[in-house]
Each structure stands twice: as C-alpha cells, then as structure tokens.
Symmetry: C2
Subunit: 412 residues, 2 copies
C-alpha cells in the first residue's frame, strides 16, 4: 500500500492527471504537482477546485522544480512524502526522475519513452537505450516503475495483453491503430507541443515484422479501416514506443503502429519538412539573426492547450490482434472511443490529453492498492491487464471489443 | 542624343542590364554600376569581362551607393557624367532616384512600380500614388522618365500599344498572360527575392473591367490557355503594375493580368500564408526571440541567383488583345518565348531576369539615339512601340504574333 502522489509536469496531460488524482484522492492521499513554472501548477490546481474535483478533503500543493536535477527531485519526493511519482513532464526528463525515484524509494510512472533532445530517432528497441538499463537498479531497490502508461503506449499494451491472454493460444500480429477523428476548427495545429509532435514523424519508422526490425519512411505504408463510430479512416505506419516493448514480449508476432493522418495534415507537414522549416538546426537570416526554424513554426502554430474549448468529435484507438485458438484463426479488435467535448466538460482538456492522462492515474491507484506494486520495472503488457482495464472502465476510458461474436463493452 | 549609363542595383536583373549595356556600349558610352554592396557590382563587372561582352573598349566602373539618399544619387550622376540612369534596384528606391534624375537632368528608366516597404498593396491606380505626381516636374525640367520598362510591365505594354495601333480600330480587352514553364529542379523556390515576390500575391487583386476598378482575391479567378511552345497552362488573375497604366490609356477596354502558377507553387504558398509564415510582423518564440517569419522563410528558400545554372525550359509572356477592325471582331496574341538555358549561356542569368533586364537597355538605347528621348514622363504604351519592339527583335527578345492569319515573327 502506497499513498501520496507527486505529479511532475504542468501541460495538458498533467491537467488531466491532476483532475483524475483529485477525483480519487481517497485512494491516492495527498497530492502535489511540480514543474519549472510554478504559475502553471497553481493554475491547474485552481481548475481542480473550480470543478470541485477533490473526492475527499485533502491537500494539493504546487512547487517549482527543475526535473533534470536528480537531487532536486529527490528532495521534493522526501519533502512531500510522496510514495508515487507520476512523470508527465517533457520526455527529456524521464531518466533523472526515474533515478531520483530509485534513490528515494518511490514508485515511478511515466507515459512516454525517454528522449535525448539532440537525437531525433534512436536505434530499436528504444527502451533498451535508456529505461531498461535501470531494470536491475529498480529490482535491487524494490522500486515499482511502470513505463509508458498513457493511452498509446499504455492502454494499447494492455489491450494486446488482454487479447492474447483471453482470446488466443498463439498471437501472430498486433496492429495498433490511433485515429483522432476530432475537429479543432483551426487551419492546422498539432495536438501537443509541436516540437515533440513532429519528432515522431521525422525519423525512421521502425516496425517488428518476421522476427526482426524493419525500416520504413513516414507516410510510406498506409492502411484503411472501417472503424466503430469514426468510420473509414486512413492511417500510416509510424514509429511508436509500444512497438519496442510489445515485440520483446511477443517476438513471434508482427507488431506495428498506425497513426491516422488526414491528407491536409500530411500536406502541411510535407511542405514544412521539405522547406527545412521543421529543422532543429539554426539558420541565419539575411539580417544575421540565428533562428531554429522549428521554434518559429511552434510560435506561429496555435497553442495546443487553446484547442480544448472548441474541440469536437471523437478518438478511436485500438488493437487489431490476430492469432489462433484451438488451431482456428481468430481476430479481435480491442478499442476505446473518447469524445473531445466530454473530456473538456469533465477536466478542461481535449480528448488527446484525456486519453493520455487518465491511464497513469489508474496505474497509480493500482500501485496504491497493491495490485500493480510489483517492486520492479515493468512495461504495461508485463502486468495483468484485467484490473487495469477494469478500473479504466470505471474512471472514464471504457474498453470495447469487436470480434466474430459482435461489438460490445468489455466486461471484466 | 544622350550617352553614359549609370545602373543602380546589383541583383539578377542588374546583371542582365550590365551585360546588355556592355554589348551595346558603342551606342551607350561609358558604363557605371552602383549598389549598397560594392562587391556585388564588382562581381557583375567581372562576369561582363569574362564573357568579353564589351562591344568596344570603354570604362565600366563600380560604386557604393545608398539609393535612398537623393543627394548621394545626384552626386554620383554628376560625378559619372551619366545622362541615363537605369534603376533596377529594390522597388523601394524609385522615388529618390527619380527625384535625383529630375534635379540632375538625367533620363530615368525603371522596371517596376515604387513600393513603400510598410504597405503591401495600395489603392489603384498604383502609379498615381507616387510616380505620376512627378509628371509636371519632369516636364518642367525636360527630363525623360520611362516608367516600368521591364518585360511585364514594359514589353507587354508595347505589345498592347502595337496590337491596338496595327490591328484594330477599337480595343475591347487586353489580357496579359505570364507563363514560366521552366524548371529549376528545386522543391520550391521563388524566381527573385522572396520578400518582394510574395508581396505580389498577398494583397488585393485589382483589375480594370467595365470601366472601373474591380477587386478579387489571389487565386480566385483562373484561366487556361493553349499557348505556343509551352502548351496548356493555367494562370490566375493577379495585381500587376501595367494594369494601372494601360487602363489609363485604354479606359474603354478591360485590362487584366494573369500570372501562371503550378498547383505545387500554389499549395506551398497557401500553406505558408495560412500558417502566418509570410507575415512581415515579428512573432516571439518560446525562448523570447523576435523573428519576422518572412525573413526566416527567405533564409530557408534557395537563393534565386543560385537557380540559373540548372534552370531549363521556356517562358511565354504575351497579350491577348481583342477589339474590332472595320466593324468585325479581331483577336491577336502578341508574345515572346525565352529560354532559361540560352539566357544563362549568354549573360549568366535565368530567363526571368533576362526578360526583365533586356528591355530597359533597349529603352536606354532609344533614349541615347533620340527616338524615345521625349523630355517628359511616360509609361511604355505612351511611346511608339515599333522602334522598341524592332530593337528587341535584334538584341534578344524577338516578338511573335498569332492571329487569324497564323503564328509568325513580328516583322517591323
């Protein structure tokens, strides 16, 4: 049993985490939030109080923190008495926060893989470059670290684990499809920090097929699905964290990730990339000013957090899992539908932040009550999927399943 | 009879002007070139000597000049003894150079309308905002000033004058079509300074139709023509200088300008404009750096002067002129075909610079020999078109005509 949560980060996902922690503070205990900018943390706490989100009376405090400083993170963990740290800061701070948790003996949760700001795309498996090097240290310290427990990676890893465990003897392929069929009403916008967002699409696309890493370029391989609620949607094979852990657990299966993009998004992205406007290397203007093009593009694009109030439509994210059961081929689609407007009404964020922010709170609750407090490092598919999906059914992200027997809520 | 030429400017068009003046220095006398950057002037003179372009031995000197400073321009005119000034500098310096010529008694030639750097698009007729206010001063001083004598404006104004004079009793419409069917081999580039180039397409499109100024948006009105040599081409009604003078001379005719754009150019332009990346207003990055987006776009695009060596294909620029002759409808297409590679081989520039740079030299030669030394301000259509087009036939820009009688070289 662990209690008291320290949230690191103060962006759109952190706001959802804060609200969901507040809604479950009877389980989670005292709440704390820290980021580089104190005012952002305070603003989030204010929205929590405006929505009267605290389930039971209790503290929710804000702190300034440089999360790249291990000692500072350790000091804050000890000062707050937090036994669970939810890291939803920039992907550049994972390793310092993880190290601090190992030293301080706090459970660690994050939602995306560590990134080195100077590298666009690393060699697979990505977890092997950073996080997994700390497996032994976690085990030795008895520290629970659950990696990548947002929606994707995270819930989709649990979808795969559930499908394999419940529906088949042997798994042949896992295809994760992420469709945002929402409309933010702007000419163009990314759904989260453009600098991080574009990094996902400018490197090599790695997939695990035929027992080996395969390389493709972005927008090279397309599929089209007729999906529940959102209908016919095109998606493109993309690099994504969960391919790098699921392929480790299911090496005999093909593991691919598919991100949905409209033609308009692809066109704008392609123009910007071909002109060199997504570069992180500075260029010099005729007037002698050094400018990093990507930082200017970020400055002219809408602030992703400004999209939430007018965002409409739904997301559909799920796993097509194929295999055999009793020698017969079997295929299931395990998925979730979320609604941007509902998310905004509940926690003041759009659906992309909502689907990423609810799962780490479910993980924190499972650690708090002991079910997932395993005392070592784990990716989501290493843990029992049933209690996780069962809890998500209750706190805002219900799972559905579609197979030969029909399309229905997943009853756990 | 006037002699000795001062060229102001040192860009791609100035290079063509320098070469063509050199090829005709027996008529034009001593040659001088001045710009803000002395080294650019010297580099141009060097290419002239490399091509052995001087027809007869004679001087060609370079100077540093701030052309926004009237006194500096006057001093240089007097110092050089230039009786003809060819202004092919930035469109922001027209008025200071014109004033200096009026004071110094030198003939003035330019190729594009004056622009105020702080204004994107002014009220029509554009010449009325600046140049035409100096008509009386030119007349009083007996100074010849030929405005807008590049290709378009310039040669196309003479095409219109010729067509009306030679082929019809009454003119009903003048449609100027400018097609660059060349290929520079880059993903995207403008053909001259992006800052100036994009200004042409970000304001209101003015046309003269039904005896009044009409307003449209860029890319709103399209036409498609099957043209000599370059074939089927789409073009879009655009704002352009010559519409503002031809409508003054031919108020009963519809006068429109059409610029050819490929779908790819329009797409890139539209993305950049919609994202705010063509703005001249500074934005501030997350790091606090103030950047003018258009200046960064200019920095990532190819330097237009770098395109020339690999530019292939042809331009087709001409006037569709409709009217009546002896009560019967008549239509002619007066046009020129130029080749990018030929231009590079001759003067080291691409075809767009070539077509813009040869006409002001023809104008200077006509002033030098007296034919066009009229002692007042004139737009090209105010002057006899025959000697001008006849001279252009000989020095690199031959005119062709297509009408009911066929497609043939225009014999003058």
């Amino acid at each position: 049993m662990k209690r008291n949560v320290l949230i690191i980060g103060a962006g759109g996902v952190a706001q959802v985490v804060a609200h969901k922690c507040a809604q479950n503070n009877d389980v989670l205990g005292d709440l704390h939030i820290a980021s580089r900018t104190l005012s952002k943390c305070e603003a989030i706490i204010q929205t929590v109080h405006e929505k009267a989100a605290m389930k039971v009376p209790g503290p929710f405090h804000a702190y300034t923190l440089d999360a790249t400083n291990i000692e500072a993170v350790k000091t804050l963990i000890r000062q707050t008495g937090a036994q669970i740290v939810i890291n939803v800061g920039s992907p550049f701070v994972n390793m310092t926060v993880l190290d601090a948790c190992i030293d301080a003996g706090a459970a660690y949760i994050d939602t995306a893989i560590h990134e080195d700001p100077t590298k666009i795309c690393e060699t697979p498996p990505w977890y092997g470059n950073y996080e997994w090097k700390k497996r032994e240290a976690c085990k030795a310290a008895g520290v629970t670290a659950v990696l990548g427990v947002g929606f994707d990676p995270g819930v989709v890893n649990a979808f795969a684990r559930y499908a394999v465990d419940a529906c088949m003897d042997e798994v042949h392929s896992i295809d994760i499809v992420d469709i945002n069929a929402g409309n933010h009403g702007k000419y163009f916008s990314t759904n989260f920090d453009p600098e991080i967002n574009f990094r996902e699409f400018t490197g090599t696309v790695y997939s695990w097929q035929k027992g080996a890493w395969q390389e493709n370029k972005m927008f090279e391989v397309m599929r089209e699905d007729d999906l529940p609620v959102v209908g016919k949607q095109k998606s493109y094979m993309s690099g994504h964290d969960e391919v790098h852990s699921l392929s480790n657990r299911y090496p005999n299966a093909d593991v691919r990730f598919w991100m949905g993009f409209g033609d308009h998004y692809i066109n704008v992205f392609t123009v910007l990339q071909n002109l060199g406007l997504l570069s992180e290397q500075p260029v010099t203007t005729a007037e002698g000013l050094e400018v990093v093009p990507l930082k200017l593009v970020k400055a002219v694009l809408p602030d992703p957090s400004s999209l939430a109030p007018n965002y409409t439509g739904k997301t559909c994210i799920g796993d097509f899992v194929k295999g055999t059961k009793d020698g017969q081929p079997v295929e299931v689609f395990v998925y979730n539908i979320s609604d941007h407007k509902d998310a905004y009404n509940e926690v003041g964020s759009q659906g992309i932040s909502y689907t990423a922010g609810v799962p780490p709170v479910a993980a924190a609750m499972l650690i708090a009550e002991g079910t997932w407090d395993v005392g070592h490092m784990a990716n989501v598919e290493d843990l029992d999927a049933r209690p996780f999906l069962g809890l998500l059914n209750k706190i805002g992200l219900p799972t559905r399943i579609k197979d030969a027997a029909g399309d229905r809520a997943l009853d756990l």
